[in-house]
Amino acid sequence: MIRLIARRLILGLVTLACVYTLTFLMVITVPGNPFRQSERNMPPEAERALRVRYSMDNNWKYFFQFLGGAVALDFGPAFTYNDWTCNQIIAEALPVSAAIGFLAILIAVLVGVPAGVISAVRRNSWVDVSVLGLVLLGISLPTFVTGTALLIVFAVCFHLAPIGGWGTFAHLPLPAITLSLPFIAYIARLTRAGMLDVLSSDFIRTARAKGASHRRVVWKHALKVAFLPVLSFLGPATAQAMTGSFVVEKVFGIPGLGQHFVNAALNLDPGLIMSTVLVFSALLIALNLFVDVLYAWVDPRISEAL
């Protein structure tokens, strides 16, 4: 097990290095210029001075300087936010997004798994179709629509939640629910497919033959196996949820990390693009590793295959 984790860690670092190189290549080849975002024309001397200040006068120099900083977890200055370093921006925004994202994934599992199980047990009945349809609404409407709808109903009409902003626990539920809707859809689908698969297998028939109750067979024996695909989906899903969503943050006025992904790309801010990408990838790789270890622990047969 230790050897497995060590191997995966090294592989993760290699992947991270590839991600960094690829992002760097994209950032320097994309046309446009972080120093020319304002309307005013910048004198070439001033631009050259700025490039020297941010060590962007030479691509190789910048590549290794940023890499060196990133290894020491120092991502340097953000170009388009004066006097802010990327570290400060991430330290400010990541905890906010992580809180909402974690809650969203929790909601998604608590709603999506039962929905998938019920839908699989009552296969092709009206229950199946309506549960599936309701759940699929989560990936049939853009988040900005569902978020706005929740905001209008619960905050504006019924005054059950604050209209937006951040700071108290009351600010948490609406954005978390909005963010969880697409994940609910995917989890319910995976659970349904997994359950359909498992329910027709031999050991379920054996369990039934030995007189286990229907409820016990479905929720204990079958779900234990059917949950495995959901578990491997949860790695990337949690990474994505915890790094924030631009739309949810914009609709609810939340100071999270998602806005920085979009703004960094739109402003072509090299430092912020690369630091957000690296944070996302590192989180993704770490969570994938965690899920795989969990997987091997749940199902010992897997650890040989890894």
Binding site: C18, P31, I139, L141, P142, S200, F246, V262, I285
Partner: protein
């Protein structure tokens, strides 16, 4: 590999039968065909009217109170207040149908923007799916056929691309593609815009396709009929054309059908950012984003969000049900179930 372990692949005909027996997927297909027919038959009318403003119908808040009023009433009330200093612009539309779904803030008929918007969304979605199919199938098939080191490297690249945040990649790809593609089209920015959009969305959607195709190729290579063909002396290219590609059609179609709704949603997200389909061209995502903005300023403009979102939901649900149906139909496990 022992023969007992091979999953039996459904033949295309058997899969087709199973798809037809799936009532949910079947009715979704019919529904989508009907919507498409409506969109296409009304296209000449919509093209004539989708960008025509009738200012007397433009909705705004009444200066007297918080109610939605047509521009006429608004102007009359304003008239009252300003003692006749207001002149109303002429109304170019004399169509009854144009007001069935109301008008937007610029006085354009929502009915005549909705259906071309539906077609634009479908085109963006299908084209992005097509690009994903071309890249994904090539990548996956080459990796699966080559095997060994090439396969390992190609799949590592897919893994690396998977661990990039796709929103950021779509935006960067769009920025990167803008100049070369506009130049390629001779500066026709309206076409170039749509083309860039779907290349950018397609360019990030092929990863799952590549994985599915590779897996399929790997399992096909072990099938008895492919082995027999190889034993009879068939070359790699012959096997690819004769045995692999026909058996790939089903899973690829299922995967591609599921890419379409995702691409439509991504376009909606880009429209929300203001870098999706450009005005005055409508798309369902663009209309929904505009509707959300209108509803945010005043909840009374409900139709601007209800109609575009209604059509969006129906379209995406139908596409998802069709995609799920196709996947079930071509799934080797479901063959085992029907045989058991």
């Amino acid at each position: 590999m022992p023969a007992a372990k091979r999953a039996q692949l459904p033949t295309p005909a058997a899969a087709g039968n199973r798809f037809r027996r799936n009532r949910l997927a079947g009715s979704s297909t019919v529904l989508l065909a009907v919507l498409l027919a409506i969109g296409l038959t009304t296209l000449p009318l919509s093209l004539r009217w989708y960008n025509v403003q009738s200012l007397d119908k433009a909705v705004r808040e009444s200066p007297a109170g918080h109610a939605v009023v047509p521009y006429e009433t608004y102007a009359r009330e304003l008239d009252h207040a300003k003692a006749g200093s207001w002149t109303m612009s002429a109304a170019p539309i004399a169509h009854r149908a144009s007001s069935w779904m109301g008008h937007d803030d610029l006085g354009r008929s929502l009915l005549y923007r909705l259906w071309p918007g539906f077609l634009v969304s479908l085109v963006v979605g299908s084209a992005a799916a097509l690009i994903a199919v071309v890249i994904g199938v090539t990548w996956g098939a080459v990796a699966g056929l080559a095997g060994g080191r090439t396969d390992a490297i190609m799949m590592r690249i897919v893994d690396v691309l998977y661990s990039l945040p796709y929103i950021l990649m779509v935006i960067l790809l769009k920025i990167a593609l803008t100049r070369p593609l506009t130049a390629l089209l001779g500066g026709r920015t309206a076409y170039a815009d749509v083309l860039i959009l779907l290349v950018a969305i397609g360019g990030v959607s092929w990863l799952t396709m590549a994985r599915v195709v590779r897996g399929q190729v790997l399992s096909l290579r072990e099938q008895a009929f492919v082995e027999a063909s190889r034993a009879a002396g068939a070359g790699k290219l012959f096997i690819l054309r004769r045995h692999l590609l026909p058996n790939l059609v089903g899973p690829v179609m299922a995967c591609a059908t599921l890419v379409v709704p995702q691409a439509i949603l991504q376009e909606a997200f880009l429209s929300y950012l203001g870098i999706g389909v450009q005005q005055p061209l409508p798309s369902l995502g663009r209309l929904a984003a505009d509707g959300v903005q209108a509803v945010n300023t005043f909840v009374g403009y409900w139709w601007l969000i209800v109609f575009p979102c209604g059509l969006l939901v129906i379209t995406l649900l139908a596409l998802n049900f069709i995609g799920d149906g196709l996947r079930d139909a071509f799934d080797p496990k479901s063959t085992a179930q029907t045989l058991a």
